[in-house]
Symmetry: C2
Subunit: 160 residues, 2 copies
């Protein structure tokens, strides 16, 4: 299997897993907000897999892509910088389960955004337990029949 | 003057000031990205004014509005919560000048988003100097011929 096929297969597998875990409405037709909810959950599944190929399959490879992580000193702008920022993020975990609870979803024409609270549980490479809460904004763009992630901004809570 | 007229007048005054400070292209026609750049700069002028009426004039009063500030513990969702979050933000300063340097702007149909580095200079109510760098994402929506802010997410830099 070519590398991209493998990546797509991983991403589709994640998407299928997420879809099956989400209660479906009785009607066969899925609303755009539901599709965005699934795409957003797929993003967290890809993050939790720490597989850069799975993450790559969810983003367009354009100069428009941008990411801000809790550890960022500047925004990562353009797909190559975003990709490197995820490699850096993934290297901070030996294992991680990332989810967003109660996402607030807005769909406007071919764009959607989601804001919510992320929970990350897992272990650092040195064995230390991870128990992190972050606030995140994700922007998605509809390309064909898929919702792709074009911006991710996550920030840690300030010390109280 | 009615309260809303006053607010609009304040916001328009800010917008006019920002527009005149920005070098204009030779062509009379302003591109959408330029219009978003101006709307984004107007947002920072409104923030710097610490006038909730000026800020209110830049947002639609809808349930879609959302804000995350560096001090937020959860996202503020819906205009009333967003408004309260700005009142809380403004109370943290006796004076402030907020700007975003080198905004990365993407326009997609009737939506635009901006990511960049914010600089805040001023004084706290107790006289302490403010010298803060934050990373921010702003989402704007075109309503009629105006770009309104529908989401603001700003986060402080993590300690190094």
């Amino acid at each position: 299997m070519r590398d991209m096929d493998r990546r797509s297969a991983v991403a589709l597998g994640l998407a299928a897993a997420v879809v099956s875990a989400i209660p479906r409405p009785a009607a066969a037709q899925t609303s755009e907000a539901d599709a965005v909810r699934v795409a957003n959950a797929t993003y967290y599944a890809a993050f939790s897999s720490r597989d850069i190929g799975a993450m790559e399959a969810l983003w367009p490879r354009t100069a428009a892509a941008a990411a801000v992580h809790p550890f960022s000193r500047t925004p990562a702008v353009g797909w190559e910088a975003v990709r490197r920022s995820y490699e850096e993020a993934f290297a901070r975990f030996a294992e991680v389960s990332a989810t967003m609870g109660e996402p607030h979803i807005v769909v406007h024409q071919g764009t959607a955004w989601v804001v919510g609270t992320e929970t990350l549980r897992g272990r650092r490479p040195n064995g230390e337990a991870v128990n992190v809460t972050a606030l995140a904004t994700n922007i998605l763009e509809k390309q064909g029949d898929r919702w792709l992630v074009v911006l991710h901004h996550a920030s840690g809570l300030a010390p109280q």
